[in-house]
């Protein structure tokens, strides 16, 4: 005579997770108290433990949620676009959400240095995004829109770092004109990825003094 309703259960779990998310953004992982999360979620302190075994578990579930949905959305964006436009689209999407979600992802990054469970989740998510991005770059190289000398895996990692850097800019300079910055970042990425001008010999610049290493 079972009556556990998995849908309701999962729904409540999600609600609590979202409340916890708001608290984490406001106060950080350590700073957000169970009591505060429960108040935010509208439940009693004890009841939270029907859904999560510990605060750690909440943070873990949070990491899973945030990083998975980040990878998923990037996947969606990438699905129906060419390489460079897909990348720039992700950039624009990120900008619009940056104020709210950023601190938590950064905190997950820091936490992953101390919490192996989080580290595992994050490595997995990073790997998925990187593979997707590298695949995108390879497609671009096949269609000659991206410099074939660029090694896709490494470039994917670097580009992810650049996207992350954008988040930090937002923290460092809250009043920064993001639209302006975004356009310039697009330029940077485009110039980085596009193939050298047809036939012409591009000025190699400093890095190109060791072109085999640089682009391989």
């Amino acid at each position: 005579m079972r009556r556990l309703d998995p849908v309701r259960h999962e729904g409540k779990r999600r609600e609590i997770l979202e409340a916890a998310g708001r608290c984490f953004v406001r106060h950080g992982f350590k700073g957000a108290s169970i009591a505060a999360i429960c108040t935010e979620a509208g439940i009693s302190p004890g009841h939270l433990y029907h859904y999560f075994a510990s605060k750690e578990a909440i943070i873990g579930a949070m990491a899973d949620l945030r990083l998975t949905e980040m990878a998923q959305r990037f996947h969606d964006v990438a699905a129906d676009k060419e390489a460079i436009p897909a990348l720039l689209a992700e950039l624009r999407r990120k900008k619009s959400r940056i104020r709210q979600a950023t601190p938590m992802v950064l905190e997950l990054l820091i936490e992953s240095g101390r919490n192996p469970a989080i580290a595992k989740i994050m490595r997995e998510s990073s790997r998925r995004m990187r593979d997707l991005l590298a695949e995108l770059l390879r497609k671009g190289q096949a269609s000659r829109q991206i410099d074939p000398a660029i090694e896709p895996e490494t470039a994917a990692t670097i580009l992810m770092g650049v996207l992350d850097g954008l988040k930090i800019v937002a923290l460092r300079e809250p009043k920064f004109d993001t639209e302006k910055g975004l356009v310039m970042l697009e330029t940077m990425i485009t110039r980085f990825l596009m193939p050298p001008a047809n036939g012409a010999q591009r000025d190699p610049g400093i890095a190109d003094k060791r072109p085999d290493r640089a682009l391989q």
Copy 2:
């Protein structure tokens, strides 16, 4: 009956700050306890309050120290170099220190979103670095090593973001081949900053479909 030897006092303060730094790296701001810091510094809990009024004050002093020394070192590096080489030198220096110092700077960034005192210190430090970098870019433009179409202030901010992004790469993928990544990052920056090839018409790429906006 001397009251205080300011030099000794300042020295002890610094020692405590360094001990605190080690604790902060290990456990975060909230996670590092006064007791742990005192143990690490080899003093008693009560005595710590002769040097710092509160834990907040320690974090503040820490922000001051870390961000100031970061700006200062960048200043040193930039002093006697041309624009692009200076930037790349900073990049290389960062790489060597990245494993240890990064989490704390990230934590300061996050803390600054919650703690106005830290935010103030960080904005000041960011401003100094950005101005310096912009000045460098301007010098590069004057000597025709850097694309004159680039707006220095915005580019400086973006470049700082890229440097920060490198830190995150290190957290995301601890086993990442940093040397390879570094070389590729150098390529990216170089291609971004260098002026278009002389006389030749560079393929504008996607972003260049709106070149006036992109390069401001």
Copy 3:
């Protein structure tokens, strides 16, 4: 529309009580949680309260069960035997069950010092055992197998204490050679109970310096 099948009800009650027993042995009365008992019994927390009004009630029922069955089994053993053999038989039975049941009976003893309800149950059970044992001793005295100078009630109490002491030996020294100990205990009881050698004047020993008091 039947309301209740008393047999089924009682059966389930017993099942729960046994599950609770296993938990009590593992974790003690305070340490065993209702949740753990329910898991062990395979029912839901709410449902347990159809059978028992409270945790206290479970402990009470447990005391009833354990102490009653202990008295009952002693009764069975004693039924068809002579005095001393019956006592020794009980001793042997106890030895075989001692590892598992002991801690809970001890815990009931302690609990009875704090919980009047338990104390009442235990006094009743003790009284039954003592009366039975005293009766046995009296029968032994009538058939001249037991020293007539021994006062049956007091001796019964002492003998019960000795049986209990055996439990503690098992706790104190888990590796104790119980067979050896048992044989020696049998010797002790036998020497205590048996009448002085016929006609011979037994060496009174130290205690016998006040024989009237010692043997009452």
Copy 4:
């Protein structure tokens, strides 16, 4: 410039331990709350942790204290007496203290089934008492006051069990006439230990049907 005063520290520790002891007797290990112990000791809840790392540690220290002082006192009693008188003296001493200390020792016994640290302490204490008692028995055998057929180690263990059994009697029957019981117990022990009557052939009783096993 150290100023830690080990004497004061140890004194306070002892005070707390005694307060904890009173609480443990009243409510048991699990039932006695840290808050209650602190109130009883007249300190704040947090301060207790300057002296004990955890509640477990308190129980451990308690076990150490109680069992050590029990062994020590038995040692003192045994020092200047003959075998049987020493044993009976310990018995009398135990009786006078039995109402208060018993439940805690029993609780330590139970706890030792669940807590290896306590178990270790207790085994050590048991071993010391048993060795001392066995030594006493051996001396008694040498001076012909104790039956030489008795194996000292096993008998020592059994006798300790009997002493413990006395504690349980006190719990089982709070109104039991302990003086009467004590005298009878003395008789039992005396009859058990004393050598067979000189020259006379003692009625072997039931156990003596296998005398080689029983007394060896």
